[in-house]
């Protein structure tokens, strides 16, 4: 993950940013080309996957803390949105915003004790929080509808799928923009310093607790927003499907690994590759897509543990040699 100095983007980076802006314009225009519902939904889910990955990128990619509890933010964002809409009869947008903010605060609060843990311990403690949150949501019948869940009001918009598409796109664009702006600010450097060597980061004057908590709160915010939008899309929310650790924690991490962690656009690239591929596989080999997912995960991690973006932009070796380099270095 050799990063160029701030200010002077490499040629590869310039091309990537150009493609990103063109991609955004294309994404805005796309629904007006009267695409089939299938493609509209597929891209909606690509965006959602990208938000979840971008959310993990703050805490995992930049700050180096591998959270395995992000599924909790997704579920809580969906539930806060759902509860506000059904019990308090709020409109969708304020409910979704409240869901995101709730998750940001929740992440900050659990982050204060949990971010003192390192490595595996942080990973599993956050996983533990996710399991505990799911049980509490399932058990709190009066508020959450228990195991059956809640039914949200149906979106009255005649073009409801198109609307959801734009909500996801907007949330994704916001998450990319925030990442882009923070990555080259003091905050971004504080995160990277913590990831690279937390002890040294403290020694150069970085308030590590503050920046780690901030990263985790941003993770919570964006994943919570995605959860809220998903709840409105799906209209039915239930604990077992919302707190799915494979779908909403493992896949986003894999997406970041595929695209490259600690980069602005890596998670988006990873989301496109991953989501399109898994949609294709589930059509081609129904029932077997998770088997392929597991296999793909193993292969990707052996051969390109630092992510695709590095293979495309920053490497000195290419092709087969680049692929074989990682397993050679990491061998027992």
């Amino acid at each position: 993950m050799t990063r160029p100095s701030a200010g002077d983007a490499t040629r590869g980076e310039k091309i990537v940013y150009f493609i990103a802006i063109a991609g955004l314009l294309g994404a805005i225009a796309f629904p007006f080309t009267a695409p089939s519902g299938f493609w509209l939904r597929t891209f909606t889910f690509v965006f959602m996957a990208a938000i979840l990955a971008q959310g993990w990128n703050f805490i995992g990619g930049y700050t180096g803390y591998a959270s395995f509890g992000n599924v909790a933010f997704f579920g809580l964002g969906a539930y806060v949105t759902g509860i506000l809409m059904t019990k308090a009869h709020f409109d969708f947008l304020p409910s979704m915003a409240a869901g995101g903010i709730f998750c940001a605060i929740f992440a900050g609060l659990i982050g204060l004790p949990l971010l003192r843990l390192k490595g595996h311990y942080f990973a599993v403690a956050t996983l533990g929080v996710a399991v505990a949150v799911r049980e509490i949501v399932s058990g709190w019948d009066s508020l959450t509808g228990g195991g059956i869940g809640l039914n949200l009001p149906i979106n009255p918009d005649p073009n409801s799928f198109r609307q959801i598409y734009f909500f996801m796109l907007a949330a994704l664009t916001l998450s990319i923009l925030v990442t882009y702006l923070l990555a080259r600010s003091k905050i971004g450097y504080a995160w990277i310093a913590i990831r690279e060597n937390e002890y040294a980061a403290r020694a150069v004057g970085i308030n590590t607790t503050l920046y780690k908590t901030l990263a985790f709160a941003l993770t919570g915010l964006f994943i919570g927003l995605a959860g809220g939008i998903y709840a409105y899309y799906n209209t039915t929310i239930a604990p077992d499907s919302l707190f799915d650790i494979t779908a909403y924690t493992a896949n986003p991490i894999l997406i970041v690994i595929i695209g490259g962690g600690g980069t602005v656009l890596g998670p988006v690239i990873g989301a496109f590759v991953f989501q399109i591929l898994s949609t294709y596989l589930s059509f081609q080999f129904p029932g077997l897509q998770f088997t392929f997912l597991g296999l793909a995960m193993i292969l990707v991690i052996i051969f390109m543990p630092q992510g695709a973006l590095e293979y495309l932009t920053g490497r000195r070796v290419f092709g087969l040699a680049a692929l074989l380099q990682a397993p050679r270095e990491n061998r027992a």
């Binding site: 003091k186 450097y189 060597n197 040294a200 020694a203 150069v204 004057g205 970085i206």
Partner: protein, 253 residues
């Protein structure tokens, strides 16, 4: 050169790791503007002393005062921002950042960091790297550096923090002949710019030549303190380094 105002003072500073006492009631005063050498055999507690003073490790007991204000137990980042910078004996670069970025991080978060924009931090980092003659390596990723350059990068990060006190943990280890002389010259220039130095070093020629005073630690305890000339004559120091059978001190130890 140095006046008698203490800039950093420890009182009965003690640190236990499990059953091991790494620092045992150390009283040490660093005077503003001086160069103080801190020496001792391996495992004497020199690095622990720096870790505890800079807040990276919490002391078990005792007091630390910086400019007459207690900083005992304060978080490391506060102490760093107050003007105490240190280098690591086992270098700790931000490996995937460039040399320039590594140093800029020091400039962003050190004593002057709060009032400095990111751009200004990069300018400060450039200046420091020019001063340390690393200009041609600014764009290198830190992982590509040799050990000698990593030591220099440690110094660059610390200098970019605009310290008033610099705690140097073996920045010369691994340097040879003329490199040691160059490094000594560099430290003298840093000192001349108004920085108080505490130097931990095994290269005796350097420590004897640089220091105004020297403190010797052994098994976590202060066993001697004095001018370089006094230290080389001190029988306790000679015993600590060479064992009791050496009667007369040699020039190099």
């Amino acid at each position: 050169m140095s006046n008698d105002t203490s800039i950093l003072e420890t009182t009965n500073l003690t640190k236990h790791f499990g059953g091991v006492t790494a620092l045992d009631r150390v009283n040490l005063t660093l005077k503003e503007g001086e160069i103080l050498g801190l020496i001792g055999p391996n495992g004497a507690g020199k690095t622990t002393f720096i870790n505890v003073v800079t807040g990276l490790d919490k002391p078990s007991s005792g007091m630390i005062a910086y400019r007459s204000r207690a900083i005992t137990g304060a978080p490391a980042y506060r102490i760093a921002r107050a003007g105490l910078a240190r280098t690591f004996q086992v270098t700790k670069p931000f490996r995937h950042l460039s040399v320039l970025e590594n140093v800029a991080v020091g400039a962003m978060f050190g004593a002057q960091g709060a009032s400095r924009s990111t751009r200004a931090a990069f300018e400060k980092a450039e200046q420091v790297l020019v001063f340390l003659e690393m200009k041609e390596k600014t764009k290198w990723s830190a992982e590509r550096l040799t050990i000698a350059d990593l030591k220099r990068l440690e110094l660059a990060k610390a200098l970019a923090m605009d310290p008033q006190v610099l705690l140097l943990d073996e920045v010369m280890a691994g340097l040879h002949g003329s490199e040691v002389l160059e490094a000594m010259d560099l430290l003298r220039q840093i000192h001349a710019s108004g920085v108080t130095l505490l130097v931990v070093e095994h290269v005796m020629k350097a420590i004897m030549g640089l220091s105004h005073r020297i403190v010797v630690l052994e098994f976590g305890q202060k066993i001697a303190e004095g001018t370089p000339a006094e230290i080389v004559e001190n029988p306790k120091v000679i015993a600590a380094y060479l064992g009791n059978r050496y009667a007369k001190p040699k020039e190099t130890v």
